[in-house]
């Protein structure tokens, strides 16, 4: 093969002849995937359906699959949510923390994973052990809270970013990816006179797009879905991220008395439809992120000069 872009395992196969057994395999594969497609789509369809069905019709449904097709559709719930200032503000907070947070996360993760990916680095194992222990042992909610507040981070966006700046779990994943890259790449660059940092930036990173995309996705989704740090560190309600808002409406309608004192029964529970709509609206941006990232799940440009 000449020095060309390889799109990894994806676009190829076109060039390879298909035998009969291949075609059988493919048919079965696609059939099974269709089934999986349907069963994983199903819960989301239910939630979408709930967000579009007027409450009166909920009573009419008899359960089962036939109820998936609504008789009437209403956009009232979406109208309410879209016109709701409170939700937009929470959106802004969540978007900001996700964007800023993921950027900080990726930076720190790459900086930490790269040196640790070098087995020849003196002290590698000991350093790794140091990081590893924090993944398993934790001081708990109160000590962490005391530390974060003693640094004065509460009620700022930094409380949602700095205490979670590095996930050792994700860092290990990144490290594994770095280790899978052929060592010859570095060696030839070193011969050319590059230092470690230049190698990282110019050679390793462009080839690590799948890793950066997936780890970035993991961080972004974590930021989007997490709520406990918001509960602990954000007192100002204007800074509440989306998830806390969602949990307030969601849980008051479904939790048992044990959690909420009996007094909460005074509250009119929001209709199922509104909850469903809020869920959809909350999920939408983040589930759109993955398809956008998918094009990065291919290997970057392979430098032909390395081969042969």
């Amino acid at each position: 093969m000449s020095i060309t872009e390889t799109k990894g395992h994806r676009a190829k196969n076109k060039g390879i002849a298909q035998t009969r057994s291949d075609k059988v395999f493919e048919t079965i594969n696609i059939f099974l995937l269709c089934i999986i497609l349907f069963i994983t789509l199903f819960p989301l369809l239910i939630v979408v359906q709930r967000s579009l069905v007027p409450p009166e019709d909920v009573m009419m449904s008899s359960g089962g699959l036939s109820s998936l097709i609504p008789h009437r559709i209403t956009f009232d719930y979406y109208g309410y949510v879209i016109n709701n200032q409170v939700i937009w503000r929470a959106y802004g907070v969540t978007l900001t923390r996700a964007a800023l947070g993921t950027a900080v996360n990726l930076l720190l993760t790459i900086m930490t994973a790269y040196p640790l990916s070098k087995k020849s680095l003196p002290g590698n194992r000991q350093l790794m052990l140091l990081f590893f222990i924090t993944m398993i042992f934790s001081g708990g909610m109160i000590p962490t809270y005391l530390l974060v507040t003693s640094l004065g981070l509460q009620d700022t966006i930094w409380a949602l970013i700095i205490p979670s700046a590095l996930s050792v779990y994700n860092m290990i994943i990144m490290r594994t990816f770095f280790r899978s890259l052929p060592i010859e790449l570095e060696e030839s660059a070193r011969i050319d006179g590059c230092n470690d940092i230049m190698i990282l930036i110019r050679i390793i990173l462009p080839l690590s797009l799948p890793a950066i995309a997936s780890v970035g996705l993991f961080y972004a989704v974590w930021h989007w879905n997490t709520f406990m740090d918001g509960v602990l560190y954000i007192t100002d309600r204007r800074l509440w991220p989306l998830q806390i808002l969602l949990r307030e409406t969601l849980l008051t309608s479904s939790m048992s008395e044990l959690e909420l004192n009996n007094s909460f029964a005074e509250v009119l529970p929001p209709p199922q439809g509104l909850i469903a709509t809020e869920i959809i609206v909350t999920m939408l941006p983040i589930i759109c992120t993955y398809p956008l990232l998918q094009k990065h799940f291919v290997k970057g440009i392979l430098i032909g000069s390395v081969k042969g």
């Binding site: 990894g8 395992h9 196969n13 390879i16 002849a17 035998t19 291949d22 493919e26 594969n29 696609i30 099974l32 995937l33 497609l37 994983t40 789509l41 819960p43 989301l44 939630v47 359960g63 089962g64 900086m111 930490t112 040196p115 640790l116 070098k118 680095l121 003196p122 790794m128 052990l129 924090t134 398993i136 042992f137 934790s138 708990g140 000590p143 962490t144 005391l146 530390l147 700046a165 590095l166 779990y169 860092m171 290990i172 994943i173 594994t176 990816f177 899978s180 470690d196 990282l200 799948p210 995309a213 997936s214 959690e259 999920m283 589930i287 993955y290 398809p291 998918q294 799940f297 290997k299």
Partner: protein, 314 residues
């Protein structure tokens, strides 16, 4: 005479080491922010683990609370429910690892083999969606599906002439439900990492194999799978770090009094105690216990992985 030679060897070893460190100084520089973060935000609060050995009172704080040795742990170990709760935790977590760990890998391999780009992208996007629905929502859906009267599953059973089963209230089915619904919800999300790893399989390997006459299945087994084996091993070790997490949100949303004997896990147990008796010493002790067990598991399997020549955590 030999002493001076030894000294010379030692000094040269040390010089060697110093040179190696200096040569890779930029790498150490890169590590500084991560280390600082971990020390400040993880090791300093870790001192709070001492609460596990205290009769912690909020007002007195850590420094003022009384030291009680292993009393909190004794409370955990001596409760009549401890063994059953621990067993449930291990069993449920074990099943989830045994059955739930391979499924995303297989799914990733399947998706990877699809040639039609559009379909492939669609499947990839859809299959991870259930991850985003919380268990509060999913449990409602599961309850409706498994309802004894008009749930879809029972309707199907009735249609083929069987007797409907009240799945969620049967101890013999409940753990299966936990495992299956967990796989259902998370398999797409967990497959992402393997898909990313599979993106790196070199084209030439497949081409060469085809020329040699391998079919698709053989290529999966002999090329794709070995290529992502390091990822698989690392993910397995990471998964073991959560061996005593049987999935609090899921169990809590789905369990009921008919299945407590098989479903009550460590986290739900501690939660219920906490509602009645909020003692931080106790919950910290349980957390510490879980951490120690997880540590043992991970380090053991890490050792095995190393011995087997595989990629490992440490």
């Amino acid at each position: 005479m030999s002493i001076t030679i030894n000294n010379k060897i030692n000094t040269s070893k040390r010089n060697h080491l110093k040179k190696a460190i200096w040569r890779q100084r930029y790498l150490y520089l890169l590590l500084i922010p991560g280390l600082a973060y971990v020390i400040i935000f993880h090791y300093i609060p870790m001192a709070g683990l001492v609460i596990a050995f205290q009769d912690y009172k909020v007002f007195l704080g850590i420094s003022g609370s009384k030291f009680v040795g292993f009393a909190n742990f004794e409370r955990l170990f001596q409760t009549s429910k401890f063994l059953s709760v621990l067993a449930n935790t291990f069993i449920i977590s074990g099943y989830k690892i045994l059955f739930g760990f391979p499924v995303p890998i297989i799914l990733a391999l399947m998706i990877n083999e699809v040639r039609q780009k559009g379909f492939q992208r669609t499947v990839q996007t859809v299959v991870y969606l259930p991850h985003f629905l919380s268990w509060v929502i999913m449990s409602g859906i599961v309850m409706n599906l498994l309802a004894p009267g008009d749930g879809v599953i029972n309707l199907i059973i009735k249609a083929v002439g069987g007797k409907p089963v009240f799945f969620l209230a049967e101890s013999s089915y409940f753990r299966t439900i936990l495992v299956v619904t967990d796989i259902w919800k998370e398999m797409g999300w967990n497959a992402i990492i393997y898909l990313a790893a599979l993106a790196g399989v070199p084209q030439e390997l497949h081409e060469a194999a085809v020329i040699d006459g391998s079919n698709r299945l053989q290529r999966i087994f002999y090329i794709s799978l070995p290529y992502i084996l390091p990822t698989i091993t690392v993910m397995f070790l990471l998964r073991l770090g959560g061996v005593l997490n049987a999935g609090f949100d899921q169990v809590f949303s789905l369990y009921n009094s008919a299945v407590y004997d098989v479903a009550d896990v460590l986290d739900t147990y501690v939660y219920r105690i906490g509602v009645v008796d909020r003692k931080y010493g106790f919950s910290t002790a349980v957390g510490l216990f879980k951490s120690v067990v997880a540590c043992i598991f991970v380090l053991t399997f890490n050792y095995i992985a190393n011995k087997a020549g595989q990629e490992a955590l440490l």
